[in-house]
């Protein structure tokens, strides 16, 4: 009798345990951002492109610029408020780090884009211009800002969705850069 009593007591704890586990799982899920969709391109060569330069109309920039250097490819647009928000941090990164910062101006108007760079500064070594989303689709871009870490061999190592701030840079992006720099 004592045995069956203890069994029934512990069997009350099982649903409680399941409930707590489920609650913990769902609570964890609340903190996840559904906007962050993992990119299938991470670990693969960056899709090649030939796009017009944003700053020099008529001049073509090809994806060869990604070869040989650790790069950040930052997808941005002047209509995107979060891009303005991260702009200062990008300028700081461009100044203090040796990564090659490439601007990928996406679905934007040249005049508005240039105006934003003039007003807030230009963190980019090179800027490509993709107003019609020709190359953006190849890169799986679905919003701005997005930032790709591309290593010296032209392999995409990380995709950041959403703006970059100092914490994101230090905790999310820099470790990836350090990890793949040695191999590059």
């Amino acid at each position: 009798m004592a045995r069956s009593q203890s069994r029934s007591k512990s069997s009350y704890l099982v649903p409680l345990g399941i409930f707590l586990a489920l609650a913990a799982l769902l609570f964890y899920g609340l903190g996840l951002d559904p906007k962050k969709v993992p990119s299938p391109l991470v670990g693969k060569p960056a899709p090649s492109f030939e796009l017009e330069s944003l700053l020099e109309p008529g001049k073509t920039i090809s994806s060869d610029i990604l070869k040989g250097k650790m790069s950040l490819v930052n997808v941005w647009a002047s209509w995107c408020p979060s891009c303005r928000q991260e702009h200062g941090e990008l300028i700081r990164i461009a100044r203090e780090s040796d990564v090659q910062m490439i601007g990928f101006n996406w679905k934007d108007e040249r005049r508005a884009a240039l105006e934003m760079l003039r007003r807030y500064g230009n963190p980019y070594v090179l800027s490509v211009f993709d107003p019609e989303n020709q190359v953006g689709i190849d890169w799986g871009v679905y919003g701005a800002p997005e930032t790709f870490v591309v290593d010296a061999e032209g392999i995409i190592r990380h995709k950041r969705i959403g703006p970059i701030d100092q914490r994101v840079w230090e905790e999310e992006i820099l470790p990836v850069i350090e990890q793949y720099r040695s191999k590059g």
Binding site: S82, N133, I137, G143, D165
Partner: protein, 167 residues
């Protein structure tokens, strides 16, 4: 950055992205045959717009959805098959672009998890029922029988008894 402004920024961005351009229609796409148009509608109905995630490419008014509709349309015009088009989009945007996720090891839990849970739950339920049936009435010792008798016949221990209330 604190979460609140970030959420506000994200919401604003989503609203802008979803509501910016004027209404898109499928009118701008010309088809050679009704069958082709049907196929196009079916295809974009199966694909998710990544900006407004609960909308299909067919339903979404997001700018990106229009770009992707154009891309799908162009690929159809180029004679690409259904599967080729899906593959193209999955290679760029991931499985998430599909409303119906593919069956593969990383999605087994999604596809088979509910059946496993039903199976386990059913098994436990059946076992509990069987055990209850099989379990004999508990044997009581003579002393316990005596105690029950005493409790049942003893005055003043029944609920509602005046004695009980007074104590």
């Amino acid at each position: 950055m604190t979460p609140a402004p970030m959420i506000r920024a994200l919401v604003a961005a989503a609203l802008l992205a979803c509501g910016s351009a004027g209404a898109f229609t499928l009118e701008e796409f010309q088809f050679q045959s009704p069958a082709q148009e049907q196929e196009f509608r079916e295809l974009i109905g199966k694909l998710r717009c990544l900006v407004c995630q609960n909308e299909s490419l067919a339903a979404s008014q997001a700018d990106l959805a229009q770009d992707l509709r154009k891309e799908v349309y162009q690929m159809m015009q180029d004679g690409k098959s259904h599967d080729e088009i899906i593959e193209f989009l999955v290679a760029r945007y991931g499985d998430f672009v599909l409303y119906q996720p593919p069956v593969k090891p990383s999605t087994y839990i999604l596809w088979f998890g509910p059946f496993v849970l039903i199976g386990v739950g059913g098994f436990l339920l059946l076992r509990a029922i069987q055990r209850r049936r099989r379990e004999p009435e508990p044997d009581l010792s003579a002393a316990e029988h005596d105690r029950i008798e005493r409790l049942l016949t003893q005055p003043g221990t029944r609920p509602g008894d005046t004695q009980d209330r007074a104590s």
